[in-house]
């Protein structure tokens, strides 16, 4: 992957904000939270490969545009591993691209930790909206940016607000748009109606974008079911695309 330097990271790591679910925390594992219940099986309403801004084009900086153009060039050549290791290796698509996956996902919530359980390659992402301190990081794994980073959540009214940082720049926002490790992704998840989930995504990455910009994804509730085993690498081995067509 061709990397363009990113701006230095600033201080101020993630802060556990979780001031919610006080009642839920003290309750049993199966007690329903007092907050809106996002749990269930969901699927994106309008599958797309692109994270489109709510208005206008993606506000690239010159540096962001350069990386985007490079990704387009590599895509045209089919050099996927040089810019998109999800397509070439089934690596975790990361936040927020996971939300664009056309297959289903489940949302579980226990103790204030919200788990997104994806059908695709059995990947998970989690949002820690609890008062629970993250478990000890014995080998320093969290020192390295990761695909889903550190996701801290809180409830604002009827919305779960998830702030993700420490996101690896080896992931993309969609099938082409790059970001730096300094990106912050803020998502507002809320139920538009009992069967419709909205994810309003704010991308804040001053190195690649001139201003924060929003995109909105909508998901429709699906029947409860057990997913079948899904192993993306078996598709790659069989010369099939990482994402089933």
């Amino acid at each position: 992957m061709v990397m363009i330097k990113s701006r230095p990271r600033h201080g101020g790591g993630p802060v556990l904000v979780g001031a919610l679910l006080a009642a839920g925390i003290a309750a049993s594992a199966t007690a329903q939270p007092a907050t809106p219940n996002l749990q269930g099986v969901w699927k994106i309403a309008a599958p797309t490969n692109s994270l489109k801004p709510v208005s206008g084009p993606v506000p690239f900086t010159a540096e962001g545009r350069k990386q985007y153009d490079e990704n387009k060039r590599l895509q045209a050549k089919g050099d996927y591993d040089d810019y998109d290791i999800t397509l070439s290796r089934c690596s975790n698509p990361g936040t927020p691209r996971l939300m664009l996956i056309p297959s289903r996902f489940k949302i579980w919530e226990r103790f204030g930790v919200v788990t997104f359980d994806f059908e695709w390659n059995q990947v998970i992402r989690q949002v820690n909206a609890s008062k629970l301190e993250p478990k000890e990081d014995r080998i320093g794994r969290r020192l390295v940016p990761s695909a889903t980073g550190t996701a801290v959540g809180r409830w604002e009214g009827d919305a779960l607000v998830a702030e993700s940082t420490n996101l690896s720049e080896r992931t993309l926002l969609d099938d082409l748009v790059p970001h730096t490790v300094d990106m912050k992704v803020t998502e507002h998840f809320r139920l538009v109606d009992p069967d419709t989930l909205e994810d309003r995504i704010t991308i804040d990455d001053p190195t690649y974008f001139t201003r924060p910009w929003d995109a909105v994804l909508t998901f429709k509730r699906q029947p409860a079911t057990l997913f079948h085993e899904d192993v993306c690498l078996d598709r790659i081995k069989a010369k099939q695309p990482a994402f089933p067509q």
């Binding site: 594992a29 930790v113 478990k135």
Partner: protein, 338 residues
């Protein structure tokens, strides 16, 4: 499931007594020497306590040519039982690497508690036993009943590893490693359940263990899964899960204790709560695989309640394994086919 007594009942009794005393599992004499009791009432009502170091593991004693020495036991002289060729082969292997267990964070007074319903297994669970890199013995300390084929496969894997050329296995290439290995790794997992299914979501390996309680709503997949097809039912407060139809043979542990693709795992899972809001899960797994073993045998593992481990670390195996600058098989070599 077939039911046979071990080759040496008295020898087994001796080991079972010692194991039971070590475990503090009630009156030692109440434990049969044969296959572990799988009925809901077969174990002490309080369940087996968490085992500090596992019921097995470590180096196996070298078997003398004339069989194990006789030992007095309640006035009985232990019979001289010559080791089978399979046992001799296993006894000649270098001992497994010692496993470790990392204690989880302290629960603290404000920790969420588990449901009082013994059939509600939901929550976050974590290991309280050392990882067993080679299982070797059943839950009573009896040597796993390898037949010659099973012993050969395990010996081949251990010797290859000891020679610095370990074989490729599922976990090394980012494939699901099977229910037993998946559970036994020192990583937390969550359980979610409904009337139709119980789902285990693991921190590592994109691990899922999906148990159908209603086969009509979760029929077997069109193509076999690495994790097999698991069907469960409740036997009192015990969830009994039978797993079969594996896509390929499994390694049951890091060293490669084998299970053939035609093998079967029967897991009896129950939540043991002594009223202190610190329950543990007891999972007795019976390995039924005539391809590699002379009879079914069982192992027990326990997992403690720890909701403070609900927020997992990310696991992204594919990023590393697919890196063209590294060996795609992580330096492991293909295993010869049987």
């Amino acid at each position: 499931m077939r039911t046979e007594f071990p080759r040496s009942t008295l020898k087994g009794l001796g080991v079972a007594v010692a194991a039971a005393l070590t475990l503090g599992a009630g009156a030692a004499g109440a434990q049969p020497a044969g296959p572990p009791p799988l009925g809901a009432g077969g174990l002490p009502s309080g369940g087996l306590p968490p085992l500090p170091g596992g019921a097995s593991g470590g180096a196996l004693p070298q078997l003398p040519a004339g069989g194990p020495a006789g030992a007095p036991l309640g006035g009985f002289a232990m019979p001289q039982v010559p080791p089978t060729p399979a046992e001799q082969l296993i006894a000649g292997l270098a001992p497994p690497s010692p496993g470790v267990v990392f204690p989880g964070p302290a629960l603290g007074p404000d920790a969420p508690t588990s449901s009082a319903d013994p059939r509600d297994l939901q929550g976050t669970w974590y290991h309280n036993q050392k990882l067993e890199t080679r299982i070797q013995r059943d839950m009573y300390g009896e040597l796993a009943p390898y037949n010659m084929e099973g012993a050969k496969v395990l010996a081949r894997r251990v010797k290859s590893k000891d020679a610095g050329k370990p074989f490729v296995n599922a976990s090394a290439i980012c494939r699901p490693p099977g229910p037993l290995w998946q559970r036994d790794l020192n990583m937390p997992f969550q359980i979610f359940q409904s009337n139709d299914a119980v789902e285990f979501v693991f921190e590592e390996y994109h691990g899922r263990w999906r148990v159908a309680l209603d086969m009509a709503k979760a029929p077997p997949p069109a193509q076999k899964d690495y994790m097999g097809y698991s069907v469960g039912h409740w036997d009192g407060a015990t969830l009994v899960v039978e797993t079969s139809d594996f896509k390929q043979a499994l390694w049951l542990d890091v060293d490669g204790t084998p299970l053939s693709a035609n093998g079967k795992l029967i897991q009896r899972i129950r939540k043991v709560d002594n009223g202190d809001s610190k329950p543990f899960l007891e999972v007795i797994t019976t390995i039924d695989d005539p391809t590699y073993y002379t009879r079914p045998w069982s192992v027990v593992r326990t997992f403690v309640w720890n909701p403070r481990m609900t927020y997992f670390d990310e696991y992204n195996c594919e990023e590393q394994v697919g890196d063209p600058s590294t060996d795609p098989d992580a330096g492991l070599v293909p295993e010869p086919k049987d």
